[in-house]
């Protein structure tokens, strides 16, 4: 499903964010992306949905090179990848409801279906009571859950979550994780960058560890590794 071949990303100012990464993630996998702050996790994710292009190397998704995508095709790639951004990236002048609905409006889904889907997913992340608020009126955790709701509402084939529990209390975190596991069970590939060592350790899923831009570990049933 997702393949990185010798991918290197150098930011302006000679900053090596990723160095020579080669990795393969199969359809339906659940993968944790771990590593200290600044290790390159977010960069890895940015390359995946083509926010950034790799400086060197190739990235294939479903067999197609995404670096060679024409700009018309990019939106269609992105529709298949739900992303929970580390900084949320909610539309500031749209309500929670509208933010989540947007991912479906883009697909020209009928309004009735939009309403049903959005309400369902807001209930799943526990935001039914906040649907009419604007992002700046939300608590940090509520913003994060809105971002999660938007990423999963259109049932993407790949779900990428960049530290989706960073602003959540342990109980809510567990709910969100079990939501992601459910989605994964229905066939969605899930990639989750996280610092939550307790979650990683308890789930025993595949763990890809980055450090200073290098892939340092890739375990089938791994642990977080720093606390262990």
């Amino acid at each position: 499903m997702i393949q990185f071949f010798n991918v290197t990303k150098i930011y302006k100012g000679d900053i090596y964010a990723l160095k020579d990464i080669t990795v393969k993630i199969d359809k339906g996998e659940f993968v944790f992306l771990v590593g200290p702050s600044g290790a390159g996790k977010t960069t890895f994710i940015r390359l995946l949905f083509r926010e950034e292009l790799p400086t060197k190397g190739q990235i294939l998704i479903a067999g197609r090179s995404i670096t060679r995508l024409r700009s018309k095709e990019i939106p269609f790639l992105r529709r298949n990848i739900g992303v929970v951004f580390q900084d949320f990236r909610l539309l500031p002048d749209r309500t929670v409801y509208e933010n989540v609905a947007f991912a479906l409006q883009v697909l020209e889904v009928p309004p009735k279906e939009i309403k049903a889907r959005v309400e369902e997913v807001l209930a799943q992340v526990g935001l039914s009571g906040r649907a009419h608020l604007f992002p700046h009126q939300l608590s940090g955790g509520e913003q994060q859950r809105t971002a999660i709701a938007r990423a999963i509402v259109n049932r993407p084939r790949i779900l990428v979550a960049d530290e989706p529990t960073g602003n959540l209390d342990p109980a809510t975190s567990r709910e969100i994780i079990s939501l992601l596991l459910d989605i994964n069970r229905l066939g969605t590939t899930v990639i989750m960058a996280t610092h939550a060592w307790d979650i990683v350790n308890s789930l025993k899923k595949r763990v890809i560890a980055l450090d200073k831009g290098r892939l340092v570990r890739d375990d089938k049933e791994g642990v977080y590794g720093y606390e262990a």
Binding site: F49, E51, S71, K72, I74, P75, F76, R78, R79, V83, F85, R89, L90, L91, P92, D93, F102, A103, Q105, V106, L107, E108, P110, P111, R150
Partner: protein
């Protein structure tokens, strides 16, 4: 795009106008102010042009005949002149009438008496030409007709007047051109600044998988409405201001010909509204363009 998506575009455009209310007000005010100024100058220049044309069409050539020319020949000459190319109208002023006019001008009621009963004046003809700019050519032709003693069209004054009017016209077109360019620049900058404040929004939409046109349409419609509103206000104020100003001017300058052709007025107003809409729509498109490249 499906029909329901168009519904979304319109709803979103209006919602956004409303939620970014002060930005919408600021942008429409800019459009209104700019287009009002532009419209006001278009009407001003049109009027100056109109007055200049009226002035020009008042110009005439005085053709003095020899003192001894019989009245019958004078009348024949009048007919001959009327058939010349470039001549619009010819009027015969008999010497008796000429003396009366002169007497009036000099304040000498009894001029004929003072000259011993002899009228020293010739008959003369007042000739209007079709194209005031070619008044000199026509005068030269008239000069060569038989029995013509002298031709006078106040050459020096007329040439100066024509030169001034020509420059007034150049300046008018220049000013309107300058204002049009300036308006365009100012509005583009305003729209760009307004869109700039929302650049992150555009990025985010793209990251969520929106196509370029899906993002563009609501912005385009928003720009269109802002332009329409601004242009509408400009046109309304202009029409009202113009009619009330011309009304006032006519009270004291009743003799001045002013443009009161409603079609011209309405075309100008329509042009402002249309121009506003275009600038708003196209300006939005151009402004969001660079934020779509993600």
């Amino acid at each position: 795009m499906r029909l329901r998506t168009w519904g979304y575009f319109f709803r979103q455009a209006f919602l956004s106008l409303w939620r970014n209310a002060w930005m919408s007000v600021a942008a429409s005010t800019s459009v209104a102010v700019t287009l009002f100024i532009l419209g006001a100058f278009i009407l001003l220049v049109l009027n100056i042009n109109f007055i200049a044309l009226a002035l020009q069409s008042n110009l005439e050539i005085a053709v003095f005949l020899r003192v001894d020319t019989p009245r019958s020949q004078a009348l024949a000459l009048k007919q001959q002149m009327e058939s010349l190319p470039g001549v619009k109208e010819v009027e015969l002023v008999p010497k008796e009438q000429g003396l009366k006019i002169l007497a009036q001008q000099l304040g000498e009621e009894e001029l004929l008496e003072a000259t011993g009963g002899v009228n020293p004046l010739p008959d003369y003809l007042r000739v209007r030409v079709e194209d005031p700019a070619r008044i000199g050519e026509v005068a030269a032709i008239l000069q060569n007709l038989p029995a013509v003693e002298k031709v006078n069209y106040g050459q020096a004054v007329v040439e100066r007047l024509l030169a001034v009017l020509r420059w007034v016209r150049y300046l008018g077109v220049g000013i309107i051109g300058m204002l049009a360019v300036a308006s365009l620049m100012l509005l583009m900058i305003t729209i760009r600044l307004a869109v700039y404040a929302r650049r992150r929004e555009i990025n985010i939409m793209k990251y969520v998988g929106a196509t370029d046109w899906f993002i563009r349409w609501p912005f385009l419609l928003e720009g269109l409405f802002i332009g329409l509103i601004g242009g509408g206000i400009a046109a309304g104020v202009l029409l009202w201001g113009y009619t009330s100003l011309t009304y006032k001017i006519k009270l004291s300058l009743f003799f001045l010909p002013l443009l009161e052709d409603n079609t011209v007025l309405h075309y100008t107003a329509l042009g402002l509204v249309g121009g506003g809409a275009c600038v708003g729509a196209v300006g939005s498109l151009l402004a969001i363009h660079r934020f779509l490249k993600v």
